[in-house]
Symmetry: C2
Amino acid sequence: MFKDASVAEIELALQDAWKAFHIYRKLSLKQRADFMRTVAKEIEAIGDELLQVAAEETHLPEARLRSERARTMFQLTSYGEACERGDWLEARIDTAIPDKTPPKPDLRKMLVPLGPVIVFGAANFPFAYSTAGGDTACAFAAGCPVIVKAHPAHARTSELVAQAIHKAVKAAGLPAGVFSHLHGVSFEVGKALVEHPYTKAVGFTGSFNGGKQLFDWANQRKQPIPVFAEMSSINPVFLLPGKMKQSASETAKLYAGSITLGVGQFCTNPGLIIGIDNDDLQTFNDALAGEIVKASPGMMLNTGIFKNYVERRANALSQEEVATVAVSAADPQLEEGAPTIASVTAPVFMQNPILHQEVFGPYSLIVKCRDIAEMQEVATHLEGQLTATLMATEEDILQHESLVEEVKNICGRFILNGVPTGVEVCLSMQHGGPFPATTDSRFTSVGADGIKRFARPVAFQNWSNELLPAELKNENPLQIWRVVNNERSRSGI
Amino acid sequence: MFKDASVAEIELALQDAWKAFHIYRKLSLKQRADFMRTVAKEIEAIGDELLQVAAEETHLPEARLRSERARTMFQLTSYGEACERGDWLEARIDTAIPDKTPPKPDLRKMLVPLGPVIVFGAANFPFAYSTAGGDTACAFAAGCPVIVKAHPAHARTSELVAQAIHKAVKAAGLPAGVFSHLHGVSFEVGKALVEHPYTKAVGFTGSFNGGKQLFDWANQRKQPIPVFAEMSSINPVFLLPGKMKQSASETAKLYAGSITLGVGQFCTNPGLIIGIDNDDLQTFNDALAGEIVKASPGMMLNTGIFKNYVERRANALSQEEVATVAVSAADPQLEEGAPTIASVTAPVFMQNPILHQEVFGPYSLIVKCRDIAEMQEVATHLEGQLTATLMATEEDILQHESLVEEVKNICGRFILNGVPTGVEVCLSMQHGGPFPATTDSRFTSVGADGIKRFARPVAFQNWSNELLPAELKNENPLQIWRVVNNERSRSGI
């Protein structure tokens, strides 16, 4: 439907972005926030057409799309507010001490934007992690121009959102190069974008293979650049014995909902449930099976994701000693994913890396452990994860401290008695985690701290007050929080 | 003198570090700071033997070594204080809103340590960027065990400092694996350390080839890990016309001192001076030449660095259209580096990448530009730098804004009317910069913000106050600054 961007179009987009960078980065924090608020308004102004096109392209229900659109607008406005608040700048001032030996110069530091950022949209979030999604919002807040490579599975949706951003760029009187939108089905478009010398960072949400490829290209450049790729997570859930004794059935019901939510197409879908093989786990197992049999298959996002689910599920179920616990009873229609639960013993799980791989869809694997020690062994065998969850009583936690520490050590978000699906947009959110959950566990792609992926510190040494940026001037005209001579303060100097 | 670490020794060090990690990371901030203060005291307790051995191994004068030792102790104690102050934890709290749809859970985030860190000592800073140097101090503050690969050029010094750390580890009752010290002349030792699955991060200060190799190994791992390598910078100095009219000779004298300081063996040595080809630049040129001719050659750190200086200097001077401006008049003795100034026109400089490479030693190249536009062109042709300096009047700055922005964009520290040598240890320092100055411009290796290289955020969702770490409890028992519901605060909730 849309033609892949040509080499000339890619070159032009980067040239324009580079020129625009020199203007956009000089905008005040308030101007950036105003621009981001306008983007949000322009997205809303598209109206129901946006929801209709997205529904056609992704098969997501209207209610979900409506709330995802609201979330996207909230990200733009709240990251804009965070941009204005200026905490992310990490402003630090150390005043001169001329009579020290040697004299200590005046030093003032703040974050500045990296440069043009390439954003790759996610298949499963056509709004919130795509064209004007979290990565784009963070890059705009940091002061970076953005080039979006539209996800081919919702290219028309992406095109509509891109038009809204173009309007906001125009309304703010900014150069067009602040935002470019390119299409590309072939991997050559992505490769050319990541390898261009004017590209200074990359944001990606998607599969392990896709993210890892971008990461490798970026590191093989003459001048390597940072890539934040959110890739692959099976979000283990540990069922502790005290909690299971109390509420095995309730936990099973809670998890049936989380596993099947949105046809399991969330990066935080609980794909692994680890319990101790006893009567309580059997109760959990039976209750979960009962719910899954009753659950309806749902149409998946697109043909590729559907095929991938069918293949990966079949592959997982065909592994030696893997038992199928439950499959939804209703016959799946064309491109519908059928909710499925399997189980396996811990030793088999630990020895078979295929069982550690994400099966993107409404699938979860129960791992049966002999005891707590074996449960901890499973934790140490797990790869990095976006989330890990403990279903546990307070006593469970206090009794099994080393298990708790081990599980904390592999994840970005550590949940107690809840489900991993549902990612709140707020400053305390960590949506990241050790590899392969992401390519850099030190950053997040949700919450305003995500801005810092696209900025770097610059220290100004010996600059006069008149010549310093507003953020670092003595009088603190922007009223931001700064650290002055090791003390946090909002006052002037 | 020291044998390279064997495969078995490397394995043992990582096994021990991994075990120690589980204990060390649970230390309170105060306990970590106390441990770091003990390391500083134990280094002091070695006494003059440390200075003597270091002088023998590095040929650095006693006064320099004495002040470098003081700096090393200050790094340990001040990063320890920063660790206790807890700003680096980036503690954020968003309290629950149960009646929101869907309910907003309680979320609290803070940084936690990555795991064992490998530190590669620097040739030119036997104390401050080696065994117990900045990287080690940052890793200890973050809660990470450290394995140091001693620099072979000052292995005895490194061994003495390592003994001091071992004593501090014992005095604190910590497992020995919190710190290991290995020798290695062959690159296999470094490779094995970087590739070990228990290694979670790397700190390095040294040559481009060394740092880039570690970066590549780290990214080619099955589970890539972050490497902060501080590598290569020629620290350009831009002489603006107004300033040159005022004080060409004074500037030349200032820079003669900076170029020859410590026989030019600083990563912030000004290796490139860019001016506009006019009478004022000639005055600068002549005054600098006069100083350099009078300057004494100095014994370099070691044979490798001396040979490297001789070769690289000869290579630079032999490039087409490069003129030798001045060489110190005194005959250099064995392994002494002779202060040297060369010059070239801007077009030749821009076309010859060899002239952009660091000549580690007392060498600087003057680049003569036709006008300000050409000076800006030179700035855009430069690679990433640790520092960039403007020698400029206020009017120069205001008149040439786009040049100023271009120069800021390539550096980590942006100096006005000063010299880049001399790196103050304080929170506002940025010792980093775009590639190839470092492998990640978003971090620093000097100042307590360097702690964040070795830590990652974890969000706790729905944990009760009793079970949360002290840093995130309602009552804020540690009295640290946190962001609570988007407001910065030191109060309890």
